[in-house]
């Protein structure tokens, strides 16, 4: 295949702003989410959560709950039906090394909020009420959740998580170079524990069909992961379970792994032989997966001209007792900057919490905040413009990958265009230089970076004689706009109007695709859909050429142009035939193709692939009272080809908003005495509200990339990375106060 996605070589829809095709369903309330599918005789499960973080269940008394009319069953570790028990059965597609959590497995408590019982009843309210009557007696032990206090126990994880690069071996001599550097900065940095909190709580509806098979609606970012999990854990054959999730009410990584409500819903459905729904409460959204705090230290040494001579970046991050969750925290420093002496370290500490998990730009949010704040400190230490310092040490190749070049990197343009839009040239470099009434005004800048990835993915395309094209695969549209971009790609590939294309996602009856995460969905599913459509086009072309008196007789496929619902001959537009006519003439009821797409091995051997951004932030800080307002953000993004500028912009807006939350508000507070996140609700865990968000300006910088035929690099994560650092740096510029521990709440600025 060529480098273009459409056989015409022209973009009709791709690259143009398009409203979401799932928009009408979402604004009318017709879009259904996992916990909303109806089933005859549906029973409702309500989870009872552990009050302690560590210890044993000494006794569990469900008699009062069972006595409530309408209660069908109270499942506990004592009476649960048998399932598989081996680790490997529970290890889902993105599980880190370790022994995955198994709900109701035994009497051991590994984290606060762990499910200890499931009450199943005829209706939701009865289940909820009865759950409050389940009496659990615990033999509690002292939990260990204080990362700072346990820092001394940090270890290098023996098993590495698939797809997560450990830190590279050090190069040069960072310690010696730092000691002899004319300019030095060093500091400790951290982000608070954060929880994803998608607006839709996790939910699973398991429908028992009349033939004994199961139709499962699960809140998951890729139904194939839940499908694999259910077949492995419950010993079901693949065709006994169908998993669907047409819409996901936000994931941000929380829906990558099947969560315990899925296990419990299937367990109850099998036990009761009836359909069951389990929806978690908002509080229970604090009982699995989170972005775990990382304690980081950075040391930078430089020449007076800004040349970096030493770079040390170490991180110690929490994980659970039972799995070694890992993410890439420190490597970014080595990728972003050219430096001859670099040492990067990453270790874990076991905590009595649930296993942390990927949360929007996992690792990068954490590590890039630290390095990009430290770089700002270095700029001040040298007396250099922070953009100039970054350009001085601009990496032209990836030192963490033996110096491989980048497939594309338009970060310089991001700085240039972003600075121009923001008005950076007018910035007075010294802190506290600009005042508006009671407020100090500060401008800050930072870099963002995320991996550009593609995963093995398949897709189906079906063209029917009515002129409708249906495409799809099992991945999910988690709000990113996947339905829309796949529709654009399919329409362009076969020269059809978008209205003629139906895109189906989130169904295990569709060809397999990976979970939607890592910003890889556009590249992976987009390419697979394009290839499937392309194959359909070739087949239709063959049928067309075989038609009696075919206008395409003796034409080679590479001269075929698909446009306006027709196949025409390049350079001879008079010779053409409608796709519909071809199918009708051939007497076929459909033309269908399933194709696979995967990463380009040659490309990957030659290049490293990243998206980049330059983020500019303006803050206004009340000098006396410490209130911070982020009044302006400019985010200039280099992420390859932009398929749909409208939905793409929204992806970046969303990342920026979450970055503002991370910088100023988000903090899950662990009471280490009880090992429990105490502000486990949306009233006390603060995410940004409308009033917090002022102007956000998104710039997409042209970037040509050849990692995949579409030229896309992914957008889901890059908007958040570096945003918190730009804000921290702006706060310093405004106030002269350097905050290294997020979030920047008022108490840190008094």
């Amino acid at each position: 295949m060529t480098q273009t996605f459409s056989s015409t070589g022209r973009d009709t829809f791709v690259g143009t702003p398009r409203s979401r095709i799932d928009g009408p369903a979402k604004v009318t309330g017709l879009a259904k989410y996992a916990g909303e599918f109806a089933a005859p005789n549906l029973a409702y499960g309500y989870v009872v959560s552990s009050a302690i973080a560590k210890g044993r269940i000494a006794a569990i008394d469900a008699t009062k709950a069972e006595a409530v009319p309408g209660v069908l069953k109270v499942l506990t570790h004592e009476n649960r039906p048998r399932t598989a028990w081996r680790d490997k059965n529970f290890q889902d597609q993105v599980a880190p090394p370790g022994s995955p959590f198994r709900a109701l497995y035994d009497d051991l408590i590994a984290f606060s909020g762990q499910p200890v019982a499931l009450v199943v009843a005829e209706d939701f309210e009865t289940a909820r009420y009865a759950a409050s009557l389940v009496h659990v007696t615990y033999a509690a032990q002292e939990p260990r959740t204080d990362l700072g206090a346990l820092r001394g126990t940090a270890y290098d994880p023996p098993g590495k998580r698939q797809g997560i690069k450990p830190p590279p071996k050090p190069w040069g001599d960072a310690d010696a170079a730092f000691d002899s550097a004319p300019v030095r900065v060093q500091g400790a940095y951290s982000l608070a524990d954060e929880h994803h909190n998608p607006m839709e709580p996790h939910a699973s509806t398991v429908v028992v069909e009349q033939d004994g098979t199961y139709t499962v609606y699960d809140k998951i970012q890729g139904v194939s992961n839940s499908h694999q999990y259910l077949t492995n854990v419950f010993g079901l054959k693949p065709d006994q379970v169908r998993v669907l999730n047409p819409y996901l009410g936000g994931g941000f990584g929380s829906g990558l792994r099947p969560q315990y409500q899925l296990f419990l819903a299937m367990l109850a459905a099998q036990e009761l032989k009836r359909s069951v729904r389990v929806t978690l409460t908002r509080d229970q959204m604090w009982s699995f997966t989170y972005r775990s705090e990382a304690l980081q230290t950075i040391a930078l040494g430089a020449e007076p001209d800004g040349t970096l001579t030493a770079l040390r970046h170490d991180a110690v991050q929490g994980t659970s007792q039972y799995e070694d969750y890992q993410e890439v925290v420190v490597n970014w420093s080595g990728v972003l900057y050219k430096c001859d002496n670099v040492a990067l370290g990453y270790r874990l500490v076991k905590l009595d919490t649930p296993t942390p998990g990927d949360m929007r730009a996992p690792g990068a949010v954490t590590g890039v905040f630290a390095i990009e704040t430290a770089m700002d400190e270095l700029a001040y230490a040298i007396g250099m413009d922070p953009i100039a310092l970054r350009l001085k040490n601009y990496a032209e190749s990836d030192a963490t990958a033996e110096g491989k070049p980048f497939g594309s990197k338009e970060l310089r343009r991001c700085f240039a265009l972003g600075a121009e839009r923001f008005g950076w040239a007018k910035r007075k470099p010294e802190p506290r230089a600009t005042r508006e009434g009671r407020e100090l005004v500060g401008w800050g800048v930072a870099t963002g970076i995320w991996e550009s990835m593609m995963m093995q993915s398949s897709a189906i395309a079906t063209l029917t004689p009515d002129g409708r094209l249906t495409v799809g695969n099992s991945t999910g549209d988690i709000g990113t706009g996947t339905y829309t971009i796949l529709t654009q790609i399919a329409a362009d590939t076969l020269g059809l109007p978008m209205e003629s294309v139906t895109t189906k996602l989130g169904d295990t009856r569709l060809p397999e695709a990976p979970v939607a995460g890592g910003s890889w969905t556009a590249a992976s599913s987009g390419t697979a859909v394009m290839k499937a459509c392309r194959t359909v086009g070739e087949q239709v072309f063959k049928l067309a050429r075989a038609m009696e008196h075919s206008p395409l007789a003796n034409v080679d496929f590479d001269r075929a142009v698909f446009a306006d619902g027709r196949i025409a001959v390049a350079g001879d537009p008079g010779r053409s035939v409608a796709l519909v006519e071809v199918l009708q003439a051939a007497g076929v009821d459909k033309v269908e193709a399933v194709e696979e797409a995967g990463p380009d091995k040659d490309f990957n051997q030659a290049y490293e692939a990243y998206t980049h951004s330059a983020i500019f932030a303006e803050v206004k800080v009340d000098e006396e009272l410490g209130q911070v307002r982020v009044t302006r953000i400019v985010s200039a993004i280099a992420a390859g080809k932009i398929l749909n500028p409208k939905t793409a912009r929204s992806q970046i807006l969303g990342g920026v908003v979450m970055g503002i939350g991370s910088a100023l508000e988000e903090e899950s507070m662990l009471d280490h005495r009880v090992g429990r996140f105490m502000n486990h609700n949306l009233g006390e865990y603060h995410v940004p509200v409308n009033a917090d968000i002022y102007d956000i300006d998104v710039i997409f910088v042209d970037e040509e990339d050849k990692a995949n035929p579409l030229g896309v690099k992914g957008l889901g994560e890059i908007g958040i990375v570096g945003t918190a650092a730009a804000i921290t740096n702006a706060v310093f510029h405004a106030t002269g106060k350097r905050v290294r521990h997020l979030p920047i709440t008022v108490d840190k600025l008094l």
Binding site: G249, G250, G654, N690
Partner: protein, 174 residues
């Protein structure tokens, strides 16, 4: 049973209430502890109204009760006996567009301005926007942002939501 005042209805007896939901009169038997949100979602299959937190902390469950926006999660259905309820499913039927299938201008504006991503907070945002316009207190961008702060959007579509509301308030219904 149909309740007027007194005597107390014991916990085991469902209570008869009448609600007008999206223009349709419904006679319903409800338990006293059933929230308007659970009634809509679990009994009436009106799942457009979302449960995001169940505690009045996110706004996803916002509906209009007699034209006023409230959190249906903190509203006991039995206490709204006789009320008119409008949910996202009924927005298209509001006003002079009654009976037509056309979207409400705010629904069109949300699509046009890409004022949502995952769509889960959207029904609440929409009902809240209509409530805001009914109230008539918010006029400037700052006032809209403040008045819409009871609706959390974790996807971060806030600026687009404000654009959409401004558009409709300025008569930009297309």
């Amino acid at each position: 049973m149909r309740l007027k005042n007194q005597p107390p209805v014991s916990a085991d007896t469902p209570i008869g209430i009448m609600l007008t939901i999206n223009g349709q009169r419904r006679e319903l038997q409800v338990a006293p502890w059933t929230t308007l949100l659970d009634l809509l979602r679990e009994r009436l299959d009106l799942t457009g109204t979302k449960k995001g937190c169940d505690h009045g902390q996110c706004g996803a469950c916002t509906v209009l009760v007699n034209g006023t926006r409230v959190n249906s999660c903190l509203t006991l259905a039995v206490m709204k006996d006789g009320a008119e309820i409008t949910t996202v499913e009924g927005l298209a039927g509001l006003g002079d567009r009654a009976g037509s299938n056309a979207l409400h201008p705010i629904q069109e504006a949300f699509i046009e301005h890409d004022a949502f991503q995952c769509g889960y907070c959207t029904p609440g945002q929409l009902c809240s926007s209509v409530g805001l316009m009914n109230e008539g207190h918010a006029h400037t961008r700052d006032e809209i942002r403040e008045a819409m702060s009871g609706n959390i959007c974790r996807c971060g579509a806030y600026t687009n939501i404000v654009d959409a509301i401004e558009d409709v308030m300025q008569g930009g219904a297309r």
